[in-house]
């Protein structure tokens, strides 16, 4: 429902939308696995995977903001 970025690219960069989708979902899945595993186990790999999930979700947020920003405009 937001205004179109342009006639050629009404939704902004489709690639960035896909990037947002994959970054967020892979990040969330990684978190679902690594957060409880880190609490239950002692292997450092789970901590690193949790940090990786944080990075992926953070990037998803930033890419979403960057791609939406140009669509927030007056008529």
């Amino acid at each position: 429902m937001f205004p179109k970025t342009s006639k050629e690219k009404p939704h902004g960069s489709e690639g960035l939308w896909w990037a947002t989708f994959w970054l967020l979902n892979v990040g969330l899945l990684l978190r679902i696995v690594s957060e409880p595993a880190q609490v239950l186990g002692s292997e450092p790999v789970w901590g690193w995977l949790l940090a990786l999930s944080a990075l992926l979700q953070w990037l998803a947020g930033l890419v979403f903001v960057a791609n939406t920003w140009s669509r927030v405009k007056e008529r």
Binding site: R31, A51, L55, Q57, F64, K73, E74
Partner: protein, 134 residues
Amino acid sequence: MPRLSCWFIRSALVHLALGFTLGGLLLVQKGLPLHLALWRLLPAHIEFLLFGWTVQLVMGVGFWIFPRFQRSRGNEKPAWLAFGLLNLGVWLAGVGPVVGAPALVLFAGRLAEVGAVAAFALHAWPRIKPPGVR
């Protein structure tokens, strides 16, 4: 999109980016403990995402799409006041505890947020109407 909605939504996006950044840091802290002091960012993370992003996006979109009176959106002043109060409140209530501000700052922030909700309701109330009703 009206000008005020642009302000609301852009501010919401800024808070989303800030909230995600703080949340990312906190999640890294969970996995790879960097510094315990990072947990002090938690109130700001919650405040930025709950009020700065979610509530602000709702207000911005609501101001934009609620039914209008012919072409007018009615009295816009309370909605502008809501924008100012909400952002003031988010920063007072979110950043205040992080920097160790007195409890009065947190209270002032919450008061500003309540004021923002009241001001927005004052603006939006007459616009909640069936189509055709003036």
